[in-house]
């Protein structure tokens, strides 16, 4: 698969006008995923930004050119388990079954169904677009929100200064389930992202495939709507979001960061980090360094 040919030739499977915000990382990822997956797919989008923007339909209209379902917030993986068993019984193993869920529907509410489906090895491609919070309802904190972030449930004030807890690193938890394919991807590196979707679709014919994608949110994080890709780039360059994959060949680091930038450079210009204290910056820096060192050790570098 040559990714430029996919970009140029493959038709857009999503409705051309959906009400995602200007500069939305989730909408960008959804369109690229569906360009790779093509027509022979069934999509399941739990409540969240992408469902709220009209991709699942509105008033008897559909927002997709392929079959799409909206389950509850917490059961997208178990819902697709049923669908995949039906399609295997019908002898239609060629159909791509894709879940496209936010981090709330994957890491918080939907984690038990996701963990269960991963452990059973259901033949699903589960994609989590991680915008670090419940953006659809006005940015409440989630377990993947970075420490010190200003959210509507962890405001900045005299009693509280942003989120007090560290971020939960979900992709490594999912890789430890022994899934057939697990990877992280950033929209900054579109070639890598689209190749991983292709690999994930192939792996989902044999077992569970999980993709964790970084999705900057201009509205919730308070940065300029044209800075989405730059924020995604800085997250990778500062080791906040290392890009790696785990397949049957073991762990592989896809972007070896020779000259990492500091967390201070990553948070510059992002409104939700405006009131970070020195101590919080140190804690984020330490957890990013620890995470990158752990990934490097797993990859044998």
């Amino acid at each position: 698969m040559e990714y430029l040919n996919v970009l140029k030739k493959n038709p857009d499977m999503v409705s051309p006008g959906v009400s995602a915000c200007q500069g939305c990382g989730g909408e960008l990822i959804l369109r690229r995923v569906m360009q790779v997956a093509g027509q022979n797919s069934i999509l399941c989008v739990p409540p969240g930004c992408m469902a709220g923007s009209g991709v699942v339909g509105w008033n008897y209209d559909t927002g997709m050119k392929v079959p799409i379902h909206i389950p509850l917030l917490d059961n997208s993986a178990s819902f697709l388990t049923g669908v995949t068993h039906l399609y295997r019984r019908l002898g239609r193993e060629d159909v791509n079954l894709i879940a496209f869920a936010g981090d709330g529907a994957s890491a918080d509410c939907g984690f038990q169904s996701l963990s269960g489906a991963a452990e059973r090895g259901e033949r699903i491609l589960y994609i989590c677009y991680d915008n670090e919070g419940y953006m659809n309802t006005g940015y409440q904190r989630s377990s993947t929100t970075t420490l010190g972030s200003r959210t509507s449930t962890t405001p900045i004030g005299s009693a509280l200064s942003g989120k007090q807890q560290a971020q939960k690193y979900v992709p490594l938890i999912m890789a430890m389930h022994g899934v057939s394919y697990c990877a992280t991807a950033s929209p900054w590196n579109m070639k890598d992202l689209m190749e991983k979707v292709q690999k994930g679709l192939e792996a989902s014919k044999e077992g569970f495939a999980y993709l964790h994608m970084f999705s900057p949110c201009p509205t919730g994080w308070s940065f300029g709507q044209d800075q989405t890709i730059q924020v995604a780039k800085r997250a990778v360059r500062s080791n906040m979001f290392p890009i790696w994959e785990k397949s049957c060949d073991g762990y592989k680091l896809n972007y070896v960061n020779q000259t990492p930038i500091s967390i201070r450079e990553f948070v510059a210009g992002i409104g939700k980090f405006k009131n970070l204290s020195e101590e919080q910056l140190d804690r984020i820096q330490r957890s990013a360094d620890e995470r990158y060192a752990a990934i490097k050790a797993l990859c044998g570098i």
Partner: protein
Amino acid sequence: MYEKVFVTPVGNKGMYVLDTSTWRTHRPVMEKALCINCCICLSYCPVNAIRFSEEEGCFITYDYCKGCGICAAECPKKAISMIKEVK
């Protein structure tokens, strides 16, 4: 009672399409003389408003462009500029 048998009635009427071009405050304009057809704008456009044809190379369509400005910010040749929409 019903002619059609369906699980859910979603999609029975047609496709949900929002006119997102009305959101735009600035429109991206591509200067084709500077463009090298690297397709970076094509890969980063969240709305797929930028298309590619063999004759023209990359070009911008304005039917659904929300005017986010990612293409102008990411273009390595600075061939795209954001120009204010005026009536």
